[in-house]
């Protein structure tokens, strides 16, 4: 019993990170019907931003309160990653907005490769895996045979809070409304006085800063390296598709489903089956429910 509770906690931890990254794929897809294949690598860059910020911060001032270290690192990573994503959108994607869809997809793959190789070549990063310095004290609590760490609690709670905030922004604010309107018909939105390009940039910024929350949290628990964005990016992308790409809550749900697949596959099968299970899930879904679990079939436009 304890074993399963432990695994559920682990699945929630991993699932939170997938969900946070999946949101970026789904938001960009929702607004531009484009899959931003560089998003996994943008996530990777965010972990390095968290790495450098926290390392620098702790080296110049060792006795800072953990809450400050954590929040400062998180906000810096979010801001830096948002800036990077907006830059990519403006320089690489925007000029291709009227080009055939495939051009933007290939460009996104290229941007991803560029980010990976830049990080490998960039001396302070390099190919070797790294650890973030401890941002918060790691304490393990033993609750009747189930181990819960402070890091695990922070990951699950912060992710939950960020997802709640995003959901509220999309549902309740004017910006969220504009995003939803653009996803329906971006040619009519300017007639409402809404600056479409600015909303698109904002969507990239929002998606990237949420990925950076995922990146910072991930870096607190695991090692980071320049190629980490590939596998995690794919899993997050599958999460978005499984939940219903374009659908915010779908991405969250999909992230947790993939988190459970990742943690529970090795419980029943050899752990090498993990990717096989994840991609099979994707294929089955694409066959039987191509719009994903929460994605609605595109309603007829009138």
């Amino acid at each position: 019993m304890q074993f399963y509770i432990q695994q559920i906690l682990n699945a929630l931890q991993v699932g939170s990170v997938y969900a946070l990254i999946a949101l970026g794929y789904t938001m960009v897809y929702g607004i531009l019907t484009m899959i931003n294949f560089a998003h996994g690598d943008i996530f990777m860059v965010s972990t390095y931003l968290a790495f450098f910020t926290s390392t620098l911060l702790l080296s110049i001032a060792a006795g800072l309160p953990p809450l400050f270290t954590f929040v400062f690192t998180l906000l810096t990573a979010m801001f830096g990653t948002a800036l990077l994503a907006v830059l990519i959108e403006r320089l690489a994607y925007k000029p291709l907005r009227t080009a055939p869809r495939i051009s933007a997809v290939i460009t996104a793959l290229g941007v991803g490769l560029f980010l990976e190789n830049f990080m490998v070549a960039f001396k302070p990063v390099g190919p070797a895996p790294r650890f973030l310095p401890p941002l918060i004290p790691q304490i393990n609590y033993d609750l009747g045979g189930v181990t819960v760490s402070t890091i695990q609690i922070v990951i699950i709670l912060v992710s939950g809070l960020v997802m709640f905030l995003l959901d509220t922004i999309v549902r309740r604010t004017m910006v969220g409304m504009a995003m939803r309107a653009i996803s329906w018909d971006k040619f009519t939105v300017p007639l409402m006085g809404v600056p479409v390009d600015r909303i698109i940039s904002l969507t990239f910024a929002l998606g990237a800063s949420i990925a950076a929350v995922g990146g910072t949290l991930y870096g607190m628990a695991y090692t980071i390296d320049p190629y980490m964005g590939i596998r995690i990016g794919w899993w997050a992308f599958i999460s978005a598709v499984v939940g219903g790409i374009g659908n915010i809550r779908g991405a969250m749900l999909g992230g947790f489903i993939l988190g459970f697949v990742e943690i529970f596959t090795p419980v029943f099968l050899p752990s090498t089956y993990r990717d096989f299970i994840a991609f099979s899930l994707l294929l089955l879904l694409l066959i039987f429910r191509p719009t994903g679990i929460l994605g609605r079939p595109a309603p007829q436009k009138v």
């Binding site: 409304m177 939803r180 300017p190 007639l191 006085g193 809404v194 009138v302």
Partner: protein, 240 residues
């Protein structure tokens, strides 16, 4: 009438899609307080003209002046802020947003936040059916209700000039009359209207003046009465 007393003044406008010349030297004026209608057959370039005014398609040549300001290279969302509301062809409502959200989005660039509540009340008085359905997804509205929403939304931008692209399209005659009555009311309350229609009979009834557009060129202009009496207009647009 000289162009500088016009609210909207278009001079020698050319618009092309690739090598398709959609507008080839259009000049027209809309004065403050008027309803001006633009009639023409399919493909004449009516929607293109409205899209050029709203900044949705670039002009190749010519000038568009709104309240004396040249609209060249003003982005579309700023043109709305300057006071041009546009009810697009096919209504363009956001089916995945509620009726109220559709209206709310149209207030995006308004600075007079205090008047917005008053405008919701006004719009719901004009269109009681929208008030009943304000929390419903706009995609669930009937075609007529969607057209009303499109007009209501344009009102919420508080434009001085409203461009309407075939508001009667696909509506039953009763609804067409209702929409045209409301356009009359909106105009009486101070909004200038440029109305594109294929339903020339109704349009000429409500308009003060009109232009006839044929394959990208204006071929006739006059008061609504003059156009209604014109034998060519009668033959081509009023069914003899």
């Amino acid at each position: 009438m000289t162009s500088n007393s016009a609210l909207l003044s278009i001079q020698n406008l050319h618009v092309a899609y690739g090598n398709i010349l959609a507008l080839q030297g259009i000049s027209l004026d809309v004065r403050e307080g008027e309803i001006v209608t633009l009639i023409g057959a399919n493909g004449a370039g009516k929607s293109t003209l409205l899209r050029a005014i709203s900044g949705l398609v670039p002009m190749r040549e010519g000038r568009i002046l709104f309240a004396g300001v040249d609209l060249r290279s003003v982005p579309a969302h700023q043109i709305v802020e300057m006071g041009i509301a546009h009810v697009p062809e096919g209504r363009g409502i956001f089916a995945n947003l509620t009726v109220l959200e559709n209206l709310k989005l149209a207030t995006w660039s308004r600075k007079d936040r205090a008047n917005i509540q008053k405008d919701y009340r006004r719009v719901f008085e004009l269109f009681p059916r929208l008030a009943e359905r304000q929390y419903q997804l706009a995609g669930t509205l009937s075609g007529g209700e969607q057209q009303m929403l499109a007009v209501a939304r344009a009102l919420m931008t508080r434009g001085r000039l409203m461009l309407l692209d075939e508001p009667s399209m696909g509506l039953a005659p009763v609804l067409v009359r209702e929409i045209f009555n409301i356009l009359g009311e909106i105009n009486a309350a101070g909004t200038t209207i440029l109305l594109v229609e294929q339903n020339a009979r109704q349009a000429l009834k409500v308009a003060h003046r009109g232009y006839v557009l044929e394959t990208g060129r204006i071929t006739l202009a006059g008061t609504a009465q003059e156009l209604s009496d014109n034998p060519q207009v009668k033959a081509a647009y009023l069914g003899g």
